[in-house]
Symmetry: C2
Subunit: 150 residues, 2 copies
DNA sequence: TTGATTTATATCGTTCTACGATATATTTTG
DNA sequence: CAAAATATATCGTAGAACGATATAAATCAA
């Protein structure tokens, strides 16, 4: 359970840089969603519904799993999306407890715009992220752990 | 401003997979922070303070920039951290408007534990993330865009 | 130096999202 | 058919960030 080696200042810096990059992406995404009139989680829900489509219509429970939230939180999220006419609930024919979710035309349109800009942004960020992930992955050679400062 | 090519179902799936992986990491991080008795943002603030240390003591304003939040939100975050004795404010000697932030011993200890587990988790996730980022980066050849399912 | 402007931090009230606890409807099990 | 399990829904609460605004310190203009 103990870490294999002591963390150096450089390790903290790398972790902090990674978080900074992550925050940068999340802010981009949040701003993009807000520009489209959505909360970030609403955008992510649209994407999860659309991305699941190939496996059949998604239920509230599956949506919750994809977003890593509790099912009853997904209920509330879908409530908001349905109020904005971006998603529609349909009772599942086989199991009447379940609800199937489907994007409306408007939901599809908003998601398409957001997905296009996200794909571009992720492509832009890819080299930086890759570099940071590699640094985090590899163990530095012994004696090479310094502060890296000055 | 228009996307270069139409998004395929596979594109949505890849974007959704990427978000799913991201959510997975964020949930891991949130759970880890919660286990240490912290909110996720509190953990991220500790990391940002520590990671900035090589560039000198961090101010509220710099912390806000690193976390991509407004300065007055950083104030509130630091309020909570100081209440838990994880961070201490010190008036900046040169500019008395500024405040310098420093981790307490307890703050250092908690951060060290969390950073070690995060480094391991990121190393675990690295291959998957790298793969997804590459897929998002490269343009698929024309006619190759399918659903990718089954 | 003094007064105006800018910068850094702080305070207040509000909003959003997720949560725990709980409820209802439907399916499955015995 | 009754009991247990599953899926979705409702209600009240809490945490974090925000906009608007306030205060203190530094800088600039003349």
């Amino acid at each position: 359970m103990q870490p294999k080696r002591k963390l150096t200042l450089a390790d903290y810096q790398t972790l902090a840089e990674f978080r900074y990059a992550l925050r940068g992406f999340l802010r981009f995404s949040e701003d993009a969603a807000r520009s489209a009139g959505l909360a970030s989680q609403q955008h992510q829900a649209l994407l999860a519904i659309k991305g699941f489509a190939a496996m059949g219509p998604i239920t509230i429970g599956h949506l919750a799993e994809r977003l890593q939230i509790r099912p009853h939180s997904a209920v509330e999220l879908v409530d908001r999306l349905e109020a904005r006419r971006l998603v529609r609930r349909t009772p599942a024919p086989l199991d009447h407890r379940q609800v199937h979710l489907k994007l409306t035309i408007e939901g599809e349109e908003i998601l398409e715009r957001l997905s296009a800009s996200h794909r571009e942004q992720l492509a832009r960020m890819e080299p930086q992220w890759k570099r940071m992930l590699e640094i985090l992955h590899q163990e530095p050679p012994p004696g090479a752990g310094g502060t890296g400062q000055e």
